[in-house]
Amino acid sequence: MLRYELKTISVKAISIEDRTFVITTERNNELLQKSIEQVGLLYAPYIYFDNHARYYRIVCGLRRINACIAAGWREITARVVDKCCEEKELFLLSFYDNLSQRVLNPVEQARTALRLLDYFADGMVISEYLPLLGLAPTEKNLNQLLSVARLEPEIQDAVVHGSMCEAVAAKLALLQEEDRNALFGLFSQVHASASKQEEIVSCCMDISLRDGTTCSKIVRDPEIQQILAADKHPLSQKGDRVRALLRRRRFPRMSEHEERFLQQRRKLRLPKGVQLLPPPSFEGGRFRVEIEFDSAADLRDKAGAVKSMAESGLLQKMVEKP
């Protein structure tokens, strides 16, 4: 058991810059400040006096201490942990304290994993601590966390605020700084869901490897810049256009094939409500026809159109040489 003593300490003696044990990404919390102003500090933070630095380090309770300072407090009552405590014990105290109060966000999980590796072997972190973070105990998950932990603060902020998912951030971490910043810059100019962001990053990585270029050069391409510069389009549309352009470059033969299929389908002149659908990714040879109708007569008409299509040479060409 950790030994501690309740003491009233001047806030000036506490370093809020020292992040040795701090996991949280949240800097301020107005709700917490209001609560402290109303009912006081209900749960005393844990701090530790660093003899060498000559200040108190926060073990857990950064947000509470920040809220007290914001509320104008000059002193706070804190649990001052015994000097004999090892750093590992202090970090674990911080970890379990955070864990008992809330779900850690991906960057907090990443910071935790990185620090845990200072004290424990990889295998131990994977098997014992990842499940506590709500993650499957796999090396892949640990590697993803470590990638996120090493990213620039702006990208970590994007992960915390949900504008970039953790998996995309981890992919960016694999890139050189220039490429990473280029793609991060791209995402700040478009709206794209997590899966679309992931597709854009994957396309850029694959194209750069295939063509011996870099992601930053791909992003600087005039066609992409033109899409980004078009003021009249909403950000989500810009995201879709960039994605479509990159997809065409990544899959040139398939894109050409898709385009040809669409052209041929237009030539079939199917009535509204009748659709000819190719196999997904043109894999296999199973095409589908979808008919929407609102009466028996409507269905008869559309079935007639489908019958005519079935007899056309063009359809035969489309489905027999997919």
Binding site: R210, F251, E283
Partner: protein, 361 residues
């Protein structure tokens, strides 16, 4: 190629006194060895790690040694029977499916061969017209560890008394010494996995040069063995036509067509998770930048028209050299068969029958 010698051996307590365990240990006398109570536990603790071929685990196979190739419902399968003598491979091919398929980073050999023979004996009662085509090349290279195991003479003695059984050894090595000057040809055939030299050099780390593989095949053909070639995985790269055509010309120069039982063609396909795993180990590899799409079995495959073109061209070059050569596709749809080869088996059983007939010839 230097013969594989591990840097560390773990021996499961239960197999430490078995003859094959002792044979392997005597051939790795300088390698540190450690007895462990459970290989399963060791593997579980290391599950998900990148391959560590320098570690060899000797243990008991608690499961089945013989399994039908799982195939998949959407593509035609040749109904090959897998003889599972171990898992993992000392070669390091960037595209190797085992990197993602196995949850065991070590090379593992099962040394409880008595149980293998018992199980194999149970498969010997096939109807007259059927053939048991078995192979050890599914979870590793069939010849890469032979210098440690002496498996070939053992299985030959087992098979020699049994009708309708054929062992197909699949390899990327040239370690044919155990087969030379022997009369194993009736029961054992050897197949080489081949690729364009550009792919072999950049992606098949530790494997023998392709020309050496083909020369080894020619040498065994000269000793009366039936030979197979598996162009699998075929990989598209700039200049692939010339690259693969050159290999077909090498075969023509070194191996008589009459010795070739079959040639299979398969295009690179992979479980989606393989790409990331391979990239960690082989970051310069470009093979996953091809136009891959999800296949009907969930694996990533080249866009279908690309596969058809690849197979059709390969088949044309092979037929130019040997018009009667038997070519089959590995895990492809009847549609792809028809468009690439001009015919398609009506079912898995039909394809199995075609291959069985080749064995009997």
């Amino acid at each position: 190629m230097t013969p594989y010698i591990p840097k560390k051996i773990f021996i499961e307590e239960a197999v430490k006194d078995l003859p094959l365990t002792r044979t392997i240990l005597s051939r790795c006398a300088a390698v540190p060895a450690e007895i462990i109570s459970s290989a399963r536990e060791l593997i579980r603790e290391n599950a998900g790690k990148l391959p560590q071929p320098e570690v060899l685990v000797l243990c008991r196979n608690k499961g089945r040694f013989i399994e039908p190739c799982p195939g998949t419902s959407s593509y035609l399968c040749c109904c090959y029977t897998i003889l599972n003598t171990g898992t993992g491979c000392p070669l390091a091919c960037s595209y190797c499916v085992l990197q993602a398929y196995l949850n065991n980073p070590f090379i593992t050999l099962y040394t409880n061969l008595d149980e293998l023979w018992d199980e194999l004996a149970g498969c010997g009662c096939l109807p007259q017209q059927q053939t048991l085509r078995i192979g050890t090349g599914e979870f590793g290279d069939s010849l890469a560890l032979e210098h440690l195991t002496d498996f070939i003479p053992a299985i030959f003695s087992f098979l020699s008394g049994r009708r309708n059984a054929l062992l197909e050894l699949k390899t990327k090595t040239t370690r044919i010494e155990p087969l030379l000057a022997r009369d194993y040809g009736e029961k054992i055939m050897v197949s080489w996995s081949l690729n364009a030299e550009e792919i072999a050099q950049n992606e098949e780390h530790g494997a023998a040069p392709v020309e050496d593989r083909i020369r080894a095949a020619g040498r065994l053909a000269g000793e009366g063995y039936r030979i197979g070639f598996h162009f699998d995985p075929l990989i598209l790269f700039p200049g692939w036509e010339q690259g693969y055509k050159r290999i077909v010309a090498m075969i023509a120069a070194h191996v008589p067509a009459s010795a070739i039982a079959w040639v299979s063609l398969g295009a690179l396909r992979y479980m989606p998770q393989l790409k990331a795993i391979s990239r960690q180990r082989f970051s310069a590899s470009r093979i996953f930048t091809g136009e891959f799409v999800p296949g009907l079995d969930g694996k990533m495959r080249y866009f279908q028209p690309l596969r058809i073109e690849l197979f059709a061209r390969m088949a044309a070059w092979l037929r130019e050299y040997a018009p009667d050569i038997f070519i089959y596709l590995c895990m492809e749809s009847p549609l792809v068969w028809r468009q690439a080869l001009g015919f398609a088996p009506s079912s898995n059983a039909d394809l199995k029958r075609m291959l069985d007939e080749r064995v009997k010839q």
